[in-house]
């Protein structure tokens, strides 16, 4: 079904998919870049953010409150997780970090399932954004457009923090060389806590704003996790611009392949990732220092 209008429509939809992926993946990449921890619980955090928002929504009926609640809850959760558990794993081999985050992912998802049941729950988009927008070349759900804008704003905020604040500079320096930052007398422990919190928050925030589009089930985070890792690898581990670029590329790969044969969409993503890795071992914009 390759018509011009279809092509443009899918191109745009890819942007929407990509924006969300970019947001989720930036959280993942800064966690891995700074802490060296492969956060396999990232998808679970996406899910948890969605449900935290749902709980707030059911209590207050306000979507805005839900979004704030989801983000705040996950920031706190991320900080707590880093302090209580992750911190003790920095000295341990990489595999142990992977395993503990893997285990935490299971626990988080199962707690959500136990508390909310397996049935899908819907969160309604705010009335203002719940219609259909006629964009000329296609009709597009207004809310998805809103999500693109929200993601762009969130990414901009993250960019400003990373590149225009002292904390951000420390984080970026830490990504390049954590030992050096430590020996400069900066409290790396606190920085790590904040980074983990921010990374979790990005995932949780994405989880709640995505909820009106696909509705919530405890398994929403599973596919997201793998896609986020693919994006991080394509873009380059530890690189925020890499995550954004990688996210957009991934979104486009998925939607443009869907235009031709939807069944191959996700496989194409993996194929591209492998190709990128073969040609550029550190991803597209990979930062040297983290392997």
């Amino acid at each position: 079904m390759i018509t011009w209008s279809n092509f443009v429509a899918q191109l745009f939809n890819g942007l929407a998919l990509g924006a969300l992926l970019a947001l989720i993946s930036s959280g993942l990449t800064i966690i891995y870049g700074s802490l060296g921890v492969l956060n396999l619980a990232h998808g679970a955090m996406f899910t948890l953010g969605g449900y935290a928002g749902l709980a707030a929504y059911q209590a207050t009926g306000s979507f805005a409150v839900a979004v704030l609640a989801g983000a705040a809850a996950l920031f706190g959760f991320g900080v707590a997780l880093e302090r209580l558990i992750i911190r003790h794993f920095y000295a341990r081999p990489h595999e142990d970090q992977l395993l503990v985050t893997f285990g935490l992912a299971i626990v988080i998802v199962e707690v959500v399932r136990w508390a909310f049941s397996s049935e899908s729950q819907s969160v309604a988009a705010p009335r203002l954004f719940s219609g259909i927008t006629n964009m000329g070349f296609m009709l597009y759900p207004t809310y998805r457009l809103t999500v693109v804008v929200i993601c762009a704003v969130a990414l901009l905020a993250l960019f400003l923090v990373l590149y225009k604040t002292r904390l951000g500079m420390i984080v970026r320096a830490g990504i390049e060389d954590a030992t050096m930052v430590d020996s400069l007398g900066i409290n790396v422990g606190r920085v790590f806590m904040v980074v983990f919190g921010v990374g979790a928050m990005a995932a949780g925030f994405a989880g709640i704003i995505n909820a009106p589009i696909v509705s919530l089930t405890p398994d929403v985070g599973e596919a997201i996790l793998v896609q986020a890792f693919v994006v991080v690898v394509i873009g380059g581990v530890g690189s925020f611009p890499g995550a954004v670029l990688g996210g957009l590329i991934a979104g486009e790969i998925i939607s443009l392949t869907s235009m031709v044969n939807p069944a191959y969409a996700y496989i194409m993503l993996f194929a591209v990732m492998t190709l990128v890795l073969m040609m550029r071992p550190r991803g597209l914009l990979g930062v040297k220092g983290r392997d």
Binding site: A9, S118, M259
Partner: protein, 451 residues
């Protein structure tokens, strides 16, 4: 060696003892071979018979999705089985209308259910049934919402020589190319749905229309899409402009919907099921598709209407196995509804009806056969007698074990037309089953052996 042919208990214990002791020696004894000499009955043991039928209870293994994409439908059909078991065990009047020889239980034995969560995954279901057979000597298997599970369980049942009643299963293959001697299906399926709803669609929408299909990527999806497509193109001159195949459990249908939106179709035939159907329909509305095209659901999903919400199904045609307002036409349906509402607080969907029917029929067949011996029960089914059900008289075809039963065409009601909370669909037609079905061997059914 003493022969105690008339006392099953003794032989069961003895055999169990013998088995445990030599089980480790490498299975050098053919399974049951030893026992063949010890048990002087009319038949050699087969499957879990006679062990499973020797106590005061018999076990039924039910593997149903309680989590995952089909969880909601799984819970509903589970209730149908539970009600059927309760009624059979107590000799309820409704059961006796379908199985007149039933007193209390089946052949005097109480039914007990072993329920496991299959998550709609064939592997989980097969493992669960395996356990039930090995540990409890289950004499009946049931459960499926996904046809992949039904097909896998079909093969498993045939290997283990234990009867299997399919739950919800819409694929043509279940009594088609994947049919087995030990498997039976009560509900309607892709071919009958297509042939029932096809004429309605051609009449309502006209000839030479363009259709877009959305298909879940597994056996049920592909066979149903094929059946519907075949009917519409052959009998209505329709063309299929696109077929969007999505993986089971997909969450975001945007890519597929954009393709549909750009396809120029007049009608969207959504074969997706369970949560996939709910999400794809909700998202279709948000992409403006439901304003441009008419939606058709050729294989209705229990609870679709309340889950989708928002009046999206008003005027939508669907084919189904049962809708509770049929009670006006069928007295047994009325009784069933009343009992179900009493026990569970809501009107049953067609998953529950399918479950109840299939168990009632099985109880009848066992009573007719006078024994749990699987080949006898199978032959009882294969007599092809006309028997009652919740929707009138039906019969089972001996060639493929498919029940010949009507297909119900419904149309969604607008919220303003609903007379009560559960009045989602209006019954348009009850189409008799026989003319809707393919010839028994048309889909390559080749059932296996009895033993």
């Amino acid at each position: 060696m003493e022969h105690h042919g008339g006392k099953p208990n003794f032989n069961t214990n003895r055999r169990a003892l013998v088995r445990a002791g030599i089980g480790v020696a490498g299975g050098l004894v053919l399974p049951g071979g030893f026992a063949a000499r010890a048990f002087a009955a009319d038949h050699p043991p087969i499957g879990t018979w006679p062990e499973g039928a020797s106590g005061s209870s018999v076990f039924v293994s039910i593997a149903v999705p309680r989590t995952g994409v089909y969880a909601v439908q799984g819970e509903d059909e589970l209730k149908g089985w539970q009600l059927a078991i309760e009624h059979i065990n107590s000799g309820h009047e409704l059961i006796r209308r379908i199985s007149p020889k039933t007193r209390k239980g089946v052949l005097g034995k109480q039914l007990e259910a072993i329920v496991t969560d299959s998550g709609a995954k064939p592997n989980n279901a097969v493992q669960a049934h395996q356990r039930a057979i090995t540990e409890k000597k289950a004499i009946l298997l049931t459960g499926s919402t996904s046809s992949a599970v039904a097909v896998a369980t079909n093969k498993f049942a045939q290997r283990e020589k234990v009867l299997y009643l399919a739950g919800i299963s819409g694929s043509n293959d279940t009594t088609g190319k994947d049919c087995v001697r030990y498997g039976f299906r009560q509900d309607f399926y892709g071919e009958t749905a297509a042939n029932a709803i096809g004429p309605v669609l051609v009449k309502v929408f006209g000839k030479n229309k363009k259709a877009a299909f959305m298909t879940p990527d597994y056996t049920y999806g592909h066979t149903t899409t094929k059946s519907v497509n075949d009917y519409l193109t052959a009998k209505g001159g329709w063309t299929t402009v696109t077929n969007q195949v999505s993986p089971l459990g997909a969450l975001d249908f945007s890519s597929y919907l954009l393709n549909v939106a750009n396809s120029g179709a007049d009608v969207l035939v959504n074969v997706n099921w369970g949560r996939d159907a709910v999400l794809s329909i909700q998202q279709a509305q948000k992409f403006g598709i439901l304003d441009k095209m008419k939606l058709v659901v050729p294989y209705q999903i229990p609870f679709l209407a309340p889950e989708v919400g928002g009046n999206l199904l008003a005027g939508v045609y669907a084919a189904t196995d049962y809708w509770w307002t049929l009670e006006d036409k069928f007295p047994l349906a009325k009784m069933f509804n009343a009992e179900f509402v009493k026990k569970f607080g809501y009107h049953p969907e067609w998953g529950a009806e399918n479950a109840y029917n299939s168990f009632a029929h099985w109880a009848r067949m066992v009573e007719e056969a006078g024994s749990f011996y699987p080949p006898d029960v199978i032959k009882a089914y294969e007599k092809g007698q006309t028997i009652p059900s919740l929707v009138g008289d039906v019969r089972y075809r001996p060639e493929d074990h498919q029940c010949v039963r009507p297909v119900v065409i419904v149309r969604g009601k607008a919220t303003k037309d609903m007379k009560n909370k559960e009045d989602y669909w209006e019954v348009i037609d009850v189409v008799p089953g026989a003319p809707l079905m393919q010839k028994p061997d048309a889909f390559g059914c080749n059932p296996g052996d009895y033993a």
